[in-house]
Symmetry: C2
Subunit: 155 residues, 2 copies
């Protein structure tokens, strides 16, 4: 049958503790079967775990994630009402994600303008008195992209 996983395999793959994985099961995000008393995770469980992690990174609570999973399962044999409910939940989530996208681009603009200020300050320090030893200048990002923003400032 399609591949299965042990709890420690999943733990190391996704860099979680086994405690967390069992906790997710307790919260009904995962439904592993048992061989004896040992948990056996299907690839469906693995996918759900991955989705759970992504959801978490996006600030969703475990309860919200669980709700989506449940709705999704009910969708299979869903009545019209269920399907419409699911659709509205999906719309909710979409809206939340759109808002997050906006937030991210705003904060990215903030960070870029902050970065520019930092680099300017550094230049000025280098002209006036290049005293402190410079470990190594990083060309990390910046990339002469142009100065997009200007309106979004911190102070």
């Amino acid at each position: 049958m399609s591949k299965t996983y042990s709890i420690s395999e999943l733990a190391s793959e996704f860099d979680l503790t086994t405690r967390s994985i069992r906790f997710y099961e307790d919260q009904e995000l995962l439904h592993p079967t048992r061989r004896g008393q040992t948990r056996v995770y299907s690839s469906k469980d693995r996918v759900r775990l991955k989705l759970t992690i992504r959801g978490k990174r996006l600030g969703f609570s475990l309860a919200e994630i669980r709700e989506l999973f449940e709705l999704w399962d009910e969708t299979r044999s869903g009545s019209k009402k269920q399907l419409h409910l699911m659709l509205s939940k999906i719309a909710e989530r979409k809206a939340a994600l759109d808002q997050q996208m906006k937030d991210i681009t705003m904060v990215q603009l903030e960070l870029e303008s902050a970065e520019i200020r930092c680099r300017q300050a550094l230049e000025e320090l280098n002209e006036k008195g290049p005293h402190e030893t410079q470990t190594e200048d990083e060309r990390t990002s910046t990339s002469e992209k142009t100065a997009t923003s200007s309106s979004a400032t911190m102070h």
Copy 2:
């Protein structure tokens, strides 16, 4: 001088409780002055509050947000070392935001494919047996964009 705000003004504008705002001050995210014993917020405080809220929506902890504010302040009279530290912190945040962007687009794809499945299931129900009354069909999103994804599935 430039405008000031009361705690309840800010609370209603950003839909927070005054408790939260005072808590943010306790965590040194805000530094209002006092008229008598009453807090007076500057427009700088207001901006910081807005940034705090955005940061929170993105999953940053109050401690992290505070760290960025502090670094930013030190940047003004910053030594080279401080400036470089700030730059590296900025890079950290940028990386985190990039990851979040990816997460969001992944989840959006999931949601869209889920939505498509829902709508198909609805169509099938409508063909086979349109029994339940339909309150009102929503044209909300969908927009015949095409079926972009297909690889990312839940089950």
